[in-house]
Amino acid sequence: MAKIIGRDFIPSDIHSKVTGRAKYAEDIRMDGMLFCRLLKSPIPHARVKSLDYSEALSMEGVVSVLTADEVSQTPGPSDNILTNEPHFVGEPILAVAAVSEKIAQDAIDRIKIELVPLPFCLDPLESLRPEGPNARVDGNTIVRGEGVKEIKWKEEDFLEVAGELPMGEPGVEWSYGELERGFEDASLILDESFVTASNAHHSMEPRSAMAFWQNGKCHIYGSTQSQAIVVPGLARYIGIEPEDLVYISQYCGGGFGSKGGAYPLMAIPALLSKKTSRPVLMRISRAEEYFLGSARIGFQGRIKLGFRDDGRITAVDLYIVQENGPNTGFGDMGSAADAVSLVYTPMAMRYRGISILTNTPPRGAQRGPGQNQIAAAVEPLIDKAAKRLGIDGVKIRRLNAPDSRSLYGGSRNPVTSAHLREALDKGAKKFGWNEKKSESGSRKGSKVIGVGVGQAFHSAGSSGFDGLVRISTDGKLHIHTGVGNLGTYSYAATSRVAAEILGYRWENCEIVRGDSSKHLPWNNGQFGSNTSFTMTRTNYVAAMDALQKLKELASISLGGSWEDYDIENETVVNKGDSNLSMSYGDLAVKAIEIGGRYSGKELASDDLNEMTIRAVEGLAGTGLIGVARDNLDRTGTVPALAAGFIKIELDIETGAIRILDYLGVADCGTVLHPQGLAAQVKSGAIMGFGMACTERHFYDSQWGIPGGVGFYQAKPPSYLDVPLELGWDAVDIPDPQNPVGAKGIGEPLMGCATSALLCAISDALGGHYFNRTPVVPDMIVNAAAGQEQSHSPLQVNTQ
């Protein structure tokens, strides 16, 4: 096997990316198209008292206005389409459609709005104080199944040691093993508080959307990482049935979690288009992206780690206060705890967490949500312990690393396969860890060498979605995928499994994607590093169904049993008599002739999703249809694991960091697409460097106004911030629960680089641990000079 899997190829969409032909949402034009602009809240929490848009509406060129009263209101703390009670600066209150964007903006400027300011909260710990502000009128936290509630800690909870995280009543809690005994058995205990800053996603393409209605169906060109999974949620926002939505997202100009599924903003042009009977384009600006474009959740946390003499972790007690934004947010803190349980396999562990609402941008998943923050917080502490115990940094990580028998999270789930130790070994060897480590601390002028290793994890695979392929009468294989196109080319790499199973030349295959009217199956979204695992399975089961049907049709046409047939060069051949053969194209003709389940006129199984059923109905009678739900075994969490190795030069006079060398090593099972994986290992690291050293949201504490609303303020890395070349490798050990051995990997590739870089900075400073991200130059200068930092230990919104 494996003529196609594991080899490089040219993805079909790359040509249009280099020629500019790729159409993103804002590239779509239609006759009579209107432009929409948003009236957004200028303050972090308010209630609209009065709204007068009569003057705006009377302006020449203004066609319509959409208010919060006209859109479906999502319950409780969900993200709103439009609202009369904005909970963050920049939350949309009203939208205007006009013949030009300029007129729409002029109209916005003429709207008279009166807002009643309400209390707002920027720091979760402040909200937990007895008299602290709540981000929402009805409370400051979300309790699962109950909605928004108020939880306040007692005054005495805050009286503990200054600089350590107070730990009052948690919102959630789990534990396993004997925690106290674990700490009793430890010869070294670290008890450390930490802060990880929230930061923006910075997708290069703002979340613009274009909508029009035709024959009762709403067509939307959107910017999402995913395709099929967007449809039900977006239809709900618009108030239509999923089959009445045509959703097109052929290209997505970056999402990183922020465009994983449907988001309410996309409903605005759809609803304005319905109201005006004209196409509507909503262009989102760069500044608006910083308000509306989601953000990573920030942590204020505390971790107590118990180590044996040899470095083995006996017990972990983790507490996380999560800055959740004003709405539903995301489950970062729980994911962080789960990650700790697997990456360090502590013998006993307790996790407590509370998610606190703040009047800051709504939070969502950002690459490694939770896992990467905790990697940034804990990995330097592993070094701190190693230093005290006199153990090498790689050695202590190897000792605590998971293997395929390790268990995951509070529920102690099994995992499908885990090879972090192999990643560490492979990386240490290739990087030259021992040699480089010997240079650590060496100094030339003001420049000091630092060396670090970091690790990260993300669960990377799901199951239960559908696969769909079609062989047309010309013998071509059409692989229908509803997964989306976030830019990793995994939509294509995973589609190649179908070609592999059916013995196709890749040149004779076509991937059908990006438009729900093209009969796409129900697939998971391109998020959570799941595509490589999930979509290889769906394409495998669909191809297996097609393979079976090919053989059956050959036996019907040529005699014998289907078991007498095999495939060769896109032809089905009788094993005993090679003269008895039929081409795939001819068998597709036969499929149409016989009909039934062969051509999709009937469905053999009743477990397919409705979206897949509609897709098959649309294709029925046009060829041989292979379709199936992924019912393959999956008995555990699918771990994506990664290790990063880094060498830096740190200038203790300026705080500047130059990365001299970086190597990332992935445990992603079988490598599907080496060139694509190389790109992910290296580029994920670059995103990780930004998280470690530059990126953060911050707010003016008096007015709650965000300060980071431009690239130059929020600082994603540029060419000049990263090394000229980066290194990569992969463990390449197949996962036993995937038909081709593949697992996902995207997210930990970032976290291992973030944590490696933070470890190297601490190494260069001779073991100064900041317990904070990002570590910005003035912090380094202060640390090097032995000065106090300008922020207090648990402060958020620092520069």
Partner: protein, 231 residues
């Protein structure tokens, strides 16, 4: 504004009428000195160059320009040489090149990533020099040759060496910054066909890529340079 390596300071005060945002307090006002120093002056220079009286500025700033021509105002119907074709186009006095290309000429390959000279997604060539089209007034490119990503393929439809190298090296990820990266690379290779990797990095440093595909873009440009030098 010609592209430099100081992208973080190439800030404009929402010069584009359409995204002047009434509530982005921190958007540009946090760096007023930068605006004073770089953008406002540059912008005024641009307006003067395009034949508009300075008195016209308040109108633009408040977004009140009427789509009618008045006595003494600039000729709005202009000829633009884009990708070797001269095209007549109706251009507002304060219109930026990226808006003209994308919304008047249908050339959507040039992307709008930030609309304020920070990200480089809108990079085009003006007389073979790379510029941010979001920070260039269309009236300033009259009688100049503008090249966009759509103008790089030869008459047989063959890709420019930079484009084919980017395909080979799997340089783009999400692809949104790619046209800008391509144009910056083409501009570099026009003036230096044998650059070092460091020179390429500096030349492309005005082009942000959030996917972080820098390494593969650099591989692509180095590979393209080799191909060009092989002839």
């Amino acid at each position: 504004m010609a592209k430099g390596n100081f992208r973080r300071y190439d800030l404009h005060e929402s010069q584009q009428n359409c995204s002047l945002e009434n509530i982005d307090f921190c958007d540009s006002s946090t760096v007023p000195f930068l605006n004073e120093r770089y953008s406002r002056r540059d912008f005024i220079k641009g307006v003067i160059a395009s034949g508009i009286a300075i008195a016209g500025i308040p109108y633009m700033a408040s977004g009140q320009v009427r789509p009618t021509s008045s006595l003494g105002s600039v000729e709005r119907l202009v000829s633009l040489n884009v990708n070797g074709q001269v095209r007549r186009v109706d251009v507002l006095p304060n219109e930026t090149l990226v808006m003209t290309l994308r919304y008047k000429l249908g050339l959507t390959g040039t992307k709008l990533g930030c609309d304020r000279g920070e990200c480089g997604a809108c990079t085009v060539l003006i007389d073979d020099v790379d510029h941010y089209a979001c920070s260039t007034l269309t009236h300033r490119v009259r009688n100049r040759e503008v090249t966009t990503v759509e103008g790089l393929e030869n008459s047989e439809g063959e890709l420019h060496p930079v484009q084919s190298a980017f395909v080979r090296e799997l340089a783009p990820q999400c692809g949104f910054c790619t046209p800008g990266q391509v144009m910056s690379a083409v501009a570099l290779l026009k003036k230096n066909s044998n650059p070092t990797r460091e020179e390429v990095r500096i030349a492309l440093s005005g082009n942000l890529c959030r996917c972080g595909a820098y390494d593969h873009y650099l591989n692509g440009v180095m590979s393209a340079a080799q191909e060009i030098n092989r002839g």
